[in-house]
Chain length 132, copies 2
Amino acid sequence: MTTPQLTKNQSLVFDVLEKAEGPLSAYTILDKLRDHGFRAPLQVYRALEKLLEYGVVHRLESINSFVACAHPGDDCHSHGIVAFAICESCGQVMEFHDHEVDHRLMAWVRGQKFKPAKTTIEIRGLCEACAA
Amino acid sequence: MTTPQLTKNQSLVFDVLEKAEGPLSAYTILDKLRDHGFRAPLQVYRALEKLLEYGVVHRLESINSFVACAHPGDDCHSHGIVAFAICESCGQVMEFHDHEVDHRLMAWVRGQKFKPAKTTIEIRGLCEACAA
DNA sequence: CAATTGATGTAATAACATAACATATTGAAT
DNA sequence: ATTCAATATGTTATGTTATTACATCAATTG
Ligand SMILES: [Zn+2]
Ligand SMILES: [Zn+2]
Ligand SMILES: [Zn+2]
Ligand SMILES: [Zn+2]
């Protein structure tokens, strides 16, 4: 997925996510953009939809939040499965991918004749700093 | 986690999930239990909280739904990571685990000094019947 | 019998997400 | 330049998921 020029709203939402320390909920993004004219959740959700499609933002299903991709331009990223480690204390997110994990999961679903579309791997826990 | 005797509400919620074809949302469970005296979401959420704790029910983060464990009594289940393949057409869920996937993910987080607490692996797609 | 603990009932509210409809902007194609 | 289609945006309302707060009830125990 090549990323086209972002529209005004898409740029605003993306900038907020890039500058954020960690993942943000759609409504938190909305609040941060009220000064820029945002009034309704749909303005955020519509921008997020595109940013997710372009692969520059990820959705963290287990915490209903969104985060800017930590590996922009990473090619293997576009087809490989991405995994996240999410600190439940400070919110910090680490993003990584592992081909062996991909292969094992895809081999399993293939064996079941299941056609995978989108895979979520999220590990919640404590980062080094917060576990200390 | 050894499963204690379920309370009335826990049993009702668990029975609904066991008899269901696929995952159910909390509010769907609530509707199915109105005849049994359920009136409020909290009655469902409180029962689910315990059932999740006992490991007899799983929460599917990516679809905000709950499903009865497909491998009750499976020992490796209690410490291994469980993965789900979820058909986006018919809702059918397959549950499995793979030690190699566990090991790779846990090795990675250990390398980051991250302390994992709960891991989610969910593959959305189409089951064999629905892909045909 | 208190006193504690865990379970339940109920109402209200918070948090997350989408539907429906109107308007505006962009970028071809003629 | 005008028309047309496609995309983006604005706005209101509503739908869906989850929790807070507080009262009551039941079982256990000292
Ligand atoms: Zn990424
Ligand atoms: Zn942390
Ligand atoms: Zn299970
Ligand atoms: Zn199916």
